[in-house]
Amino acid sequence: MFFIPGPLIALATFPGVIVHELAHQLFCRWFRVPVLKVCYFRVGNPAGFVIHEPPTKTYQSLFISIGPFLINTIMGALIAFPAALPVIKFGAGDLLDYFLIWLGVSIAMHAIPSTGDAKSLWQSVKGPGVSSVVRFIVAPVVGIIYLAAFGRVFWLDLIYGIGVAVGLPTLLVAIYSALG
């Protein structure tokens, strides 16, 4: 397996980092959680971050943490969808198609929440006053986030990005045409 420094990957896929941080910020706004500082992109580790006050409710924490996963996945898939089919299925992509695939993969590969997101989510359920049922629901989410973050070492984020942006359209067409 070859190693490429994180900042270089972030630089090559910077739109995904911006969308990820913007999604955090927008979820904070929707839940009226004060945001203290936002870095949309930088060449460093982490490539971007949002510092906000602790949300008052657990569901707010949950959505602020996994919000970028939903937004980046949906946006990445939709942007790349019509471009992936001519390139993958027909070998007839133009420059715009390749640009849209790059953008879609970049956005989708930054969908995976960071360990920082997992940490703040766990902090929100760790304290007193949170029922064990909520902890029981949140714990696997936190575990999955940590596992996915660890998977980045094995290019899980890129695999996920390509899967969402390129694999999903191909799979959906195959399923639809098999059913139809």
Binding site: P15, I18, V19, L22, Q25, R29, R32, P34, V35, L36, K37, V38, Y40, M75, L78, I79, A80, F81, P82, A83, L85, P86, K89, F90, G91, A92, D94, L100, L103, I107, P169, L172, V173, A174, Y176, S177, A178, G180
Partner: protein, 115 residues
């Protein structure tokens, strides 16, 4: 409540990405239709229903007129369905293009098998 403003550059980038997404959304139906037509064409071809396959490949070629693969499949099925006009037109198109070896092999085999 402290409300961190979103910089104008980020807003513009966000608007650009949303516009690209809308542009992509407009293209999704025709891409899906063409890809599904191609899949159906392949299935019909496997069942030796060449006229049906030709009809499906026509849809793919209309959506992706620069796809050599779609043109090749259309040529092969039109030839086998004895649609001389389409086969001739597609052959003329393919003759001017650099095709990959597999497609060239298939066309050569098809023409070589002519009785």
């Amino acid at each position: 409540m402290a409300r961190q403003p979103i910089p104008i550059g980020i807003k513009l980038a966000g608007v650009a990405i949303v516009l690209l997404m809308l542009f992509a959304l407009i293209r999704i139906p025709s891409s899906i239709s063409a890809a599904i037509a191609f899949e159906r064409g392949e299935r019909s071809e496997q069942k030796l229903q060449f006229a049906k396959a030709e009809n499906e490949y026509q849809k793919s070629v209309q959506a992706f007129p620069t796809s050599d693969l779609a043109h090749t499949r259309l040529f092969v099925t039109a030839y086998r369905a004895r649609d001389g006009g389409t086969a001739r037109r597609e052959f003329e198109y393919l003759r001017g293009h650099q095709l990959d070896a597999k497609l060239v092999g298939e066309i050569s085999a098809l023409l070589g098998s002519r009785h």
